[in-house]
Amino acid sequence: MENNRKAEAEKIVKEMNEDKDLLFAENLIRDNKIEFEYEDKKYRIRLLTIAEKNELERLRTKKFGQLIQDKDILFEKDLIKVLKERGIDVDAINDEIKKLDAEEISLQVKLGESISKNEGEIILKSYKEQIEELRKRKAMLNTQKTLLLRFSFENQLLNYVSMVITYLSLDELKDGTWQRMFSTLEDFENYDNGNLINKAAIYSMTLQYI
């Protein structure tokens, strides 16, 4: 009796979580804006206007000019060479990722064929487990690669661009109207609430880059 009640309660919690998940997803796709709350205030992320896209391009070009003059910042290919001299082979990591990718696709096609032939659950599960294992290995290698190359010229420019997109696309609700939260990039860079900016950054990438 007690076990039944527990199972029933778990089922209800699971269903509630699923509903919450669907509601969250619906909020992301309803239109080309994402509204969210943070510390009882309302914010939204929206697509950039043409003027803002031009502003983004201007800031990107300016940053490119700054980064290219800094001799301490290496291009990805040069950073890979330096790392190789120190015994870290990024090319080998890349090759391994490509190999795992090919293996995964081949297994997926086999699994797909098994599904089309309605083969038994044991066969399907075996393929699924092999794919999961490959994905885990690939995720580890990708993380390793990202950490090694995070200071490259290309990554620094990319991070800067995503920061500027967040700065340009974040609005707050003030007196019933939506207004740009930051009027200058300097204000944005000096803003001290990192959690709000991180949340906004995730949503701005979801809208424009995913």
Binding site: L28, I29, D31, V109, G112, I115
Partner: protein, 113 residues
């Protein structure tokens, strides 16, 4: 929370699959509040809707079991195989239908009578 997974779950929900079908058939039924300037996540959602529509049709026609929808790896793999299979099938048909274009070096023209 995994955004991709949430969007996929929403796309395969009965509500959105019905809405997708209705939007294709009935003028004025819209999936989103905006009809232009789709965000990347909306584009991805449309792609998922389309894929689940295909999978649902294959389930209804008993080509596959409905359990394919239970796991992301299953439905992803099935769609990948389906595309690969159709591509190979299309290539085979192309090569068969192009047979009449294959020329031989020796052409036997009919003799003049």
């Amino acid at each position: 929370m995994n955004i991709y997974q949430s969007i996929a779950n929403l796309a395969k929900s009965t509500k959105y699959q019905n809405l997708f079908l209705a939007a294709k058939e009935i003028n004025g039924v819209n999936l989103f509040n905006n009809n232009l300037d789709f965000s990347k996540i909306q584009e991805l959602f449309l792609c998922y809707l389309y894929n689940f529509d295909i999978i649902n049709k294959d389930i209804i026609t008993d080509k596959i079991s409905k359990h394919v929808l239970d796991d992301e790896i299953y439905w992803e793999s099935y769609m990948l195989w389906r595309k690969d299979f159709k591509y190979k099938k299309g290539k085979q048909q192309d090569s068969k239908s192009n047979l009449h274009l294959v020329t031989s070096k020796k052409i036997n023209f009919p003799k003049k009578v």
